[in-house]
């Protein structure tokens, strides 16, 4: 295949499908319980130097409790998949857990504004950055899920985004058209938050899937945080509802309200007040450090964090907002 041009960005993960096959061969695919506390899951599977990806989309069905735990354990030196990463990015930046970053969308919290601490960290020169797009990151995961080393697409062409990516521009062997080749992305560890899972890792979730199905298959290790544990019998009663099968999963952690202060479809809306508090307090590094000491390092777990910020009464209000109860 004729390679016409290539981006000069760095590749932070090995796209070799045979290396991945060797890994997946030795990973257990048995129906065994993977239930464990979140702290243990992060200790066991999130290692310095590894490549981390986070599921959900922005502040929606995002495993924020797990992001807190990574920060709390002071993990450093990760590479991170910033594919529409908003509040999760903000939390991980606060702990400076990564120093290599694939960017599709970071720093911003969509319409809410930009994270000043996230911006400071990226402008500090401490982070190596490679540029991508939401679609290209999603199909890099799809290529990995398919067990192939790259996948072609028709985005990126002609732009600086391409020049700062690690993609290649090639001539299509069938049509002669130009195509961008994207390297497969096999994250070392990913975390996805779901509504329901059994202890083996069979998962159900509601709402959009964003790129989570590709992510679940592509990841070497997969931590599931779930609003609720359910029985395997319930899974087998209704297999149509299973979105992620057990054999992809390495840890199952029951974390009620684990996406808070983000939203969980059909369960609770995002806590906009608290997210705005994050954005405001970040502007002053001193105040932000105190805020993190109180909110994250000073909370033993997510239940304490939630209690600090309004507890069940707050969740009741967010549930009413999610379900549009006032309009009923």
């Amino acid at each position: 295949m004729n390679i016409i041009d290539e981006g000069r960005g760095k590749l932070f993960a090995d796209p070799d499908p045979d290396a991945a096959r060797r890994f997946f061969r030795q990973k257990t695919r048995n129906l065994v319980s993977k239930e464990m506390p979140l702290r243990q899951a992060v200790e066991t599977f999130v290692h310095e130097g590894g490549y981390l990806a986070i599921g959900g989309f922005g502040s929606n069905r995002t495993p924020i409790a797990a992001c807190h735990e990574i920060v709390r354990q002071r993990v450093k030196g990760l590479a991170f998949a910033g594919h529409t990463s908003t509040h999760d990015f903000q939390v991980l930046c606060a702990g400076k857990v990564f120093n290599r970053l694939d960017v599709a969308y970071v720093v911003g919290l969509e319409a809410r504004g930009l994270s000043s601490a996230g911006r400071r960290y990226l402008q500090s020169g401490e982070v190596e950055i490679t540029e991508w797009t939401n679609h290209s990151m999603a199909i890099r995961l799809k290529a990995a899920a398919m067990g192939i080393p790259y996948i072609p697409c028709r985005s990126l062409m002609g732009t600086d985004t391409f020049r700062r990516s690690a993609a290649k521009l090639a001539e299509c062997p069938f049509t002669g058209r130009r195509l961008v080749l994207l390297p497969a992305l096999y994250p070392d560890v990913s975390i996805i938050h779901v509504h329901e899972a059994d202890k083996y890792g069979n998962c159900r979730f509601k709402g959009i899937s964003a790129a989570d199905l590709e992510l679940a298959s592509a990841s070497k290790r997969l931590i599931i945080t779930t609003e609720r544990l359910i029985t395997n019998d319930e899974i087998r009663r209704d297999p149509y509802s299973t979105k992620i099968p057990f054999f992809l999963v390495d840890a199952v952690c029951e974390v009620p309200f684990g996406a808070y202060p983000g939203s969980m479809p059909g369960e609770y809306f995002s806590d906009e007040e608290h997210l705005m508090e994050w954005l405001a307090v970040e502007k002053d590094p001193q105040r932000f450090e105190e805020f993190l000491n109180a909110q994250i390092y000073g909370s033993a777990d997510h239940a304490q964090y939630l209690a600090r910020n309004g507890g069940l009464e707050k969740i009741r209000q967010l549930r009413a907002r999610e379900l549009l109860l006032s309009r009923d």
Binding site: F57, L114, G125, E131, N134, H135, L156, M157, A211, L213
Partner: protein, 256 residues
């Protein structure tokens, strides 16, 4: 004539571009308001898509993010990002709206950084998100933005998303799908299209109360003029009524 503000003028002008039966991929904010207004007025069969997977929702209120559950409220499907992006790649999505910190005369957009040095930017911005994909793959890309010389620049600090690249046939030569590209730029002052040969930005209509001089003064590159520059029709009473009462009753966008 009804009283209206700049944001209402832009949203109404944008909504008029979305003909009935077309498919539009939107984000939050003004583009979403324009799509909702179109759907509730002249284009009841407009299909709205949200990048993260929302397909054909009946929006109860303005979503806060492109992935929250408003984007799948009474929708046809809660899909995936691949469902949306692959539809764009197949040529099944007519319109998209994008924005950016900078835009140039060919409709190329920057949402990545401000500064001359990539390694040490003055301001790091979010990056492409899905913008490069939409700009590459949707048939017609539009922009709704306030116009000033900091935003409408001679040269971008970083080209995040493709417009007509260097103009002429450069977009197609780069490999992007033939027939796709920037279509309308809707600002607080005017509506622009792109001259078919050079692909340079061209003023086609000017909003009530402004003249060409003001449009040019708020743009750092030279704007072309359409053979006949129209007056943008102001928002009608009906359009304003739907926008204020049904689309954005809390004034989250229109009173920002």
């Amino acid at each position: 004539m009804a009283e209206y503000n700049v944001m209402e003028m832009m949203i109404v002008a944008a909504s008029r571009e979305l003909e009935d039966g077309s498919v539009v991929a939107v984000g939050t904010g003004a583009p979403c308001a324009a799509a909702m207004l179109a759907q509730k007025s002249r284009s009841p069969n407009l299909v709205i898509l949200f990048e993260a997977g929302g397909i054909d929702p009946q929006l109860p209120e303005m979503p806060i993010t492109v992935g929250d559950s408003r984007t799948i409220h009474r929708a046809s499907m809660a899909g995936s990002m691949a469902d949306i992006m692959e539809a764009c790649a197949r040529g099944a999505v007519d319109y998209t709206f994008l924005g950016g910190a900078q835009i140039d005369m060919y409709g190329n957009l920057n949402s990545t950084l401000i500064g001359a040095d990539y390694e040490h930017p003055t301001v790091r911005l979010p990056g492409s998100g899905g913008a490069n994909d939409f700009a590459s793959l949707c048939w017609r890309m539009m922009v709704i933005t306030l116009q000033n010389t900091q935003r409408f620049v001679e040269k971008l600090d970083f080209m995040t998303s493709p417009g007509w690249l260097e103009g002429g046939d450069s977009r197609e030569r780069a490999g992007l799908p033939p027939g796709s590209g920037p279509y309308r730029i809707i600002t607080n002052l005017a509506v622009m299209d792109f001259e078919p040969e050079s692909k340079r930005m061209r003023v086609v209509s000017i909003h009530p109360g402004y003249g060409f001089a003001e449009v040019q003064d708020n743009c750092a590159f030279e704007l072309l003029r359409a053979e006949r520059i129209m007056d943008t029709p102001p928002p009608s009473k009906t359009e304003l009524c739907i926008l204020r009462e049904q689309v954005d009753p809390y004034g989250l966008i229109i009173n920002r």
